[in-house]
Symmetry: C2
Subunit: 154 residues, 2 copies
DNA sequence: TAGGCAGTTGCAAATAGTTGCAATAATGCC
DNA sequence: GGCATTATTGCAACTATTTGCAACTGCCTA
């Protein structure tokens, strides 16, 4: 099951509706082919249908995440969205050079499984962002400026 | 080294300054004895010194996190702050009942170590929040409503 | 202790994201 | 297709947070 129909079936299964706005938001993310910001998505949607309200875009981004069709993560103070692949994936973000690396779900899942065994808590995160120092900066930098800045969201 | 002097020494070491506002924010978090919201912190600070500006509180929350004297995490749409203990700790947040459990650093560190070995990336997160289904809800709930809502931060 | 530099603060204005609500429009059913 | 039901949308008001900037004040040095 691919593309457009993925939206239809997934949404219907939850008693929700398929709307053109919803499609446009999903298309915008799909078109980006990777991590896109809220603003880039809104711009792309606007280009296709200028009447779509910003609020609607925000709401549908939340919606698509709930439907698990899209994954999100806050990196460097911005929220990034991306089409959810068959297999989840995660990221390693360098606090010093802002590089964004990837890490397989397999690696991370080991922890999730351990948590499930030890505490019966089922972790279901499909797009984690872990911060730290990348291989390069680790050697280059003597006294890394640890940007810990987190957006509060409001 | 404890309390008030921890602030002094840690801040000085970074060429930064100790100000009464800074102390007040730290005191407010310390007084709470656990997770506190931005707003609770501001209220507490205001009670002690009504002249302190909200912006200053925001800025010092970021600052104290950078100094690693305070840790933060976004849970349920709100940012929570807490005094950083000697040993980091992390949380397990249920998407269904919103309960917030704890998980030791030891458990999580296993993953961080593996990442360091495999990718030479040094993860340094000291207050991670992992979302999923708690032991109770896991049994109780058949079709959990997965609240994936994430604040975008602005 | 006085003076100066750089880090901080308060204020006002700008942003970004959220919420309530009435108007619309997908769906399901006849 | 026509109709009822209810999810969704667009708007406008509102809230929370961020930013620029000039005034202020720790803290180092002489
Ligand atoms: Mn990604
Ligand atoms: Mn905590
Ligand atoms: Zn780096
Ligand atoms: Zn629960």
């Amino acid at each position: 099951m691919s593309g457009a129909n993925e939206l239809r079936s997934r949404v219907r299964a939850h008693g929700k509706r398929v709307t053109p706005q919803r499609q446009l938001v999903l298309d915008a993310i799909r078109a980006a082919g990777g991590h896109v910001t809220t603003n880039e998505i809104f711009t792309h949607v606007s280009a296709a249908a200028s009447s779509v309200n910003r609020t609607t875009v925000y709401r549908n981004l939340d919606f698509l995440c709930e439907m698990r069709l899209v994954v999100a993560a806050q990196i460097g103070g911005k929220m990034y969205y991306e089409i959810a692949g068959e297999e989840p994936h995660h990221h390693l973000v360098c606090r010093h050079c802002d590089s964004v690396g990837e890490i397989s779900h397999r690696t991370v899942k080991a922890l999730f499984d351990k948590i499930e065994r030890e505490q019966s808590f089922v972790v279901d995160m499909d797009h984690l962002a872990l911060f730290g120092l990348c291989a390069e900066c680790r050697h280059t930098v003597s006294k890394p400026k640890l940007r810990t800045r987190r957006k509060r969201g409001g």
